[in-house]
Symmetry: C2
Subunit: 367 residues, 2 copies
């Protein structure tokens, strides 16, 4: 196998998928995986086989790709841009149960007006801001009911994502934000219902909150993405162990700077991505944690810097004869900070099956 | 045009290409552009038409791609990994004048032994470390002559890259590192020659040093890459103006958080890349400088944070009614920190020609 290459341990992936499905089952909600992490047909198939109900996507291109592969129930979880409505309409006309989201009167009006002109009733969820992280309407905001009324028959529910959970790293704080995510989304649904409108679906989730929630009362579905692979950011948050990370980058040693203890690898930022998500966390892994070829952690060896096609690995503590221990041509594996970003640098995964067979799994790219 | 999309201003690109070619001409050296920035046939064609002699690549896949397109003189400027030698041999057997590099005895031996077994004399340059930045042999190191002797007839020259120049931002410091890059590479060549061996080629370069060098005496060729597009990192270093940046990301406003002054765009890190190269420079541009649809800078408006398919733009000083001034559906353009990283997120450029016509220019990806 040439390097750099994206290696996917399918046994670990299967376990991760089972773990999240069991959580959703035990919490009494459907699981709608976010496929933006992997954008891969084989991974989606494993998620559906485990019990997932529909998928979440981050682009309409993902929706088209996975609809072609037979998945009909698709939530596009980015606020709808008016110019993309014809593309959404085309998907619905082909039989895709595509749900859109919005968090503004202007967005809701664009959807409803375009639908009226085309004779289509879109399915729309209102995005709720549960933590000040990014988009969404606050549950108490008068705007919520105005948007709901404007959407009329198009309104199918409310949705939120506690992105702020990525900044936490204690079970107590994670449980608290999971409860906040649940409570504020349910509050929004109840306000809509109290105003005499239907609001069937209540969708919440992120990998950290999904794995930390004690109760999801009032919620109908859970969304999460990165759990299928996990990564060092999730490890630092405290929701997985490094042994559970399913994605790594296979690399080759191409040189050294002996006196500095540097190992030069052919995995630079083009392979790892520029994601430095652990930089502000309790442990900074540089551009990744280095493992041997079999995936066993090499304690203290990090990919400490990266150029486009060069990575520099070194021991935090120094004192290792890297030329002797890691000679030219040595194969290493690097665990990434952020699986979504690292995966996106590759056109395919090399999936290692339980019997050791390696399969090429294609990965969707672009918009 | 759907968004996000990579827009390439071909008029600015042509000017940038002319500027660097004129510098190489006036310094009396050949220019061998590094195509890792753009990985695009049309851009290479413009560089060759302007006078470039051969190209530099960062992967053998680039070498194969551009050789297919008719470019024969190709330098693969990453230390050769032994397992890639059959791929290099295949290129040479097809008529490609491919040059490899190495900075170790183990690397040189692998190349020479494989060549001897296959009846091929590879062309090899020794990589010189001129600034402690990454790879290479120090010019004074005894190892230099050992590698040169081992390479024998394969040795065609020495090469260096002053990567530390990216950390500088004054004309004086840039001139000094350009001179250091030149002097140390020439010193290495002279040591080899003094030992009775030929060392025809002396190759140096990076965009900052190429644009700052006062003399390139003893140098035969200049390598540079990002100058074709320029970016905010180069702007901060001081070698270009923001008006010269040829690459931008076209995006659409998909929402707001009115009271915070946030404009939500559909360009997140998947479009911009995670590159935060200006973070440690004199001006931190976040994930990019926002312009209007026509590419005119909007003073103080930065893409301050990014999720996968969401970017948050805001005015550094606040105080702007963003909902009224940038309503849903507004088109914006974002200048990137690092053109190599942002370009790599896209499968093609939308090249805007001098007459306004937009052409789709494909971009190579992967390994």
């Amino acid at each position: 196998m040439d390097t750099p290459a994206a290696l996917l341990d399918s046994v670990k992936m299967q376990r991760n998928i089972q773990r999240m499905q069991q959580r959703a089952d035990s919490l009494g909600v459907h699981l709608r995986p976010h496929v933006k992490t992997h954008k891969c047909a084989e991974v989606v198939a494993a998620q559906i086989a485990a019990g997932a109900r529909g998928i979440t996507v981050s682009t309409l291109k993902e929706a088209e790709y996975f609809f072609e592969l037979g998945i009909q129930d698709i939530l596009y979880a980015v606020a709808m841009a008016p110019h993309k409505l014809p593309q959404a309409l085309a998907l619905r006309r082909r039989g895709c149960a595509l749900t859109l989201i919005t968090d503004s009167l202007a967005g809701a009006r664009a959807i409803v007006d375009f639908g009226a002109a085309q004779g289509e009733t879109f399915a729309v969820m209102i995005e709720i801001d549960c933590d000040g992280h990014r988009s969404g309407v606050k549950p108490q905001d008068a705007l919520l009911l105005d948007i709901a009324q404007l959407l009329g028959d198009s309104l199918v529910g409310v949705l939120t994502h506690a992105g702020e959970s990525y900044g936490l790293d204690t079970p107590e704080a994670l449980q608290a934000i999971a409860e906040q995510e649940r409570a504020r989304c349910v509050e929004a649904a109840q306000r809509i219902r109290a105003a005499g409108m239907a609001c069937d679906q209540v969708s919440v989730g992120s990998t950290p909150t999904a794995l930390s929630a004690v109760s999801l009362e009032g919620v109908t579905e859970l969304r999460a993405g990165v759990y299928a692979f996990f990564d060092l950011v999730m490890h630092n948050i405290g929701v997985c162990r490094t042994e559970e990370l399913a994605l790594s980058v296979l690399t080759t040693v191409i040189g050294h700077q002996a006196e500095k203890g540097w190992i030069i690898t052919d995995a630079g930022w083009m392979a790892m991505s520029r994601d430095r998500g652990t930089q502000a966390q309790k442990r900074d892994f540089g551009y990744g944690q280095v493992c041997n070829e079999h995936g066993e952690l090499i304690d203290g060896l990090l990919l400490s810097s990266a150029n486009q096609e060069h990575g520099v690995a070194r021991f935090e503590a120094g004192g290792v004869d890297v030329v002797t221990q890691f000679p030219l041509g040595t194969r290493l594996r690097i665990l990434p900070n952020h699986a979504c970003a690292t995966g996106a640098q590759f056109g395919n995964y090399n999936a290692v099956l339980h019997n050791g067979e390696v399969q090429r799994w294609e990965r969707l790219r672009g918009w």
